[in-house]
């Protein structure tokens, strides 16, 4: 089978075409956001929000509204609770996040076990990209395209916010608005990615591409580009792997991203060792 046929053949199926388009949009939006998240040191927040949306999915099912809306509501609830506890206690933020997201996740587990058995927990946790419904695909593509556009349009403000919030504030930038805008974008991205890679693996989508790009470049605009390329490549390749080898789509995407990160890390470590060696040889 030649390579073109290998690529084109699966796209004849509507479900696969849909999956590839969705995975490209999810990959790109998550990658852009991940660059800011890892620089701001907020990776754990993505982790927290993604777990916290579980009860939202179940509640949405019970009252018959789209999953994403329920998830989004609980994402905001998690953010508000973390903020509330942080301002009123001296407990460190990572501990607060840990308490809030595990409690909400646990609530989600209870609700699923008690209220309904029709929600497939593994689908919520790990996604079901190849089986995504038309409505869910449209929702994901719509919201995440919007998220990606907003991040790109306001990237300079977000960058200042991540780099030096004191400076941003001292020249009159509304850092509180930027802060919440950023969290809302994060919440939308997580809920939008729910069906693609699930709420557990979206954490990887929000951390790994930015980290890989950070290893490669010291220039932020380039970092954004590399992250998007790495993430979209992994997403599309992962979808194909899932199609041809019948493995978990979310698993394939995230595993591929992790492998690329390790490859880059390995290559750079060897390279810097070699450079050091030649330097030492030149000196002696």
């Amino acid at each position: 089978m030649d390579i073109i046929q290998f690529i084109v053949e699966p796209l004849q199926y509507a479900f696969m075409l849909k999956a590839v388009v969705v995975s490209i949009v999810v990959g790109a939006a998550c990658a852009l956001l991940s660059c800011f998240l890892i620089l701001k040191g907020w990776s754990l927040l993505g982790d927290a929000i993604s777990h916290a949306v579980l009860p939202g999915v179940v509640v949405a099912y019970i009252i018959g509204i789209p999953f994403s809306i329920g998830a989004f509501f609980f994402a905001l609830l998690a953010v508000v609770m973390i903020g509330l506890i942080k301002t009123n206690t001296k407990i460190k933020e990572d501990a607060i996040m840990g308490i809030v997201f595990t409690t909400m996740f646990a609530l989600g587990l209870i609700l699923i076990s008690k209220v309904t058995s029709t929600i497939d927990l593994t689908h919520v946790l790990f996604g079901e990209l190849l089986g995504i419904s038309d409505e869910a695909a449209i929702y994901t593509i719509g919201t995440l395209t919007l998220v990606a556009a907003i991040i790109l349009i306001f990237r300079r403000s977000f960058l200042v916010f991540c780099f030096d919030v004191v400076h941003a504030q001292s020249v009159g930038m509304r850092v509180r608005y930027i802060h919440y805008a950023f969290l809302i974008l994060l919440a939308i991205t997580i809920t939008g990615s729910l069906q693609t890679v699930g709420i557990i693996l979206v954490i990887a989508m929000l951390i790994t591409p930015g980290s890989t790009a950070f290893l490669i470049t010291k220039r932020f605009p380039v970092m954004l580009q590399i992250a998007v390329v790495v993430s979209v490549f992994s997403s599309v390749t992962g979808s194909y792997a899932s199609y041809y080898y019948d493995v978990s789509t979310g698993g394939a995407i995230v595993f591929l991203q992790g492998c690329i990160f390790l490859l880059v890390f390995g290559y750079q470590t060897i390279l810097s060792k070699m450079k050091l060696k030649t330097k030492v040889q030149q000196m002696s």
Binding site: I153, R156, D164, G172
Partner: protein
Amino acid sequence: MVNAIEINDVSVQYDGNFVLENTSMNIPYGILMGVIGMNGAGKSTLFKVIMGLVQPVTGRVEICGDPPSVSQKHGHVAYVPQNELVDWDFPVSVYEVVMMGRVGLQNIFKTPSKEDREYVENALTKVNMMDFVGRQIGELSGGQKKRVFVARALAQGADILLLDEPFAGLDAVSEKSLTKLLVDLKNEGKTVILATHELTSLPDICDQVALVRKTIVAYGPTKEVFTRELVSKTFDGIMHNLKFDN
């Protein structure tokens, strides 16, 4: 003429404790002032009040005749952070950091205009860092790092520069050249205020000194204020190896 900074009976509270109490001070334009005091004496809080980052529970602050919220919009006050508070691995270049000085004056998309670029280049020339524009900020020496942030303050068009521990970790040569830069800026009419622990060189650099201990213990011309008696009062008397003129 109004002062660069007027602080009138300002008190600041954190978690119910006063970190600054009934603090008053007027700082004229075009001087170099050293702010000294023990760790936790309130130097940082004083800076935050001037920048408008902290709202005092009582009192009033005026920057160039305006309240801090208005002066922020004009970019009157610029802050040069301590080296250890900056993420030096952050993927931004010297040029990009200095351009961040312009964000308060740009439109919502923060797209650099020709004027912005001119300001940035002038600022970089002024601090003698034009040869390093493309460098990632972590690839600079301690003194160069400071210069970049001073350039950001200049690009901002600030009249008042606040520097937090600018000499910490600098070697003697870098310290000397940074001092010269700050004195040059002062001579051009900028108001330069630095929080420092370098008490030995203080009388040579600063026109005025402010002694901070939960309030302004004393402030004014260095000769009058930087005395054994007042400095001892500020530092609990542990000042044996300092030499005083009077």
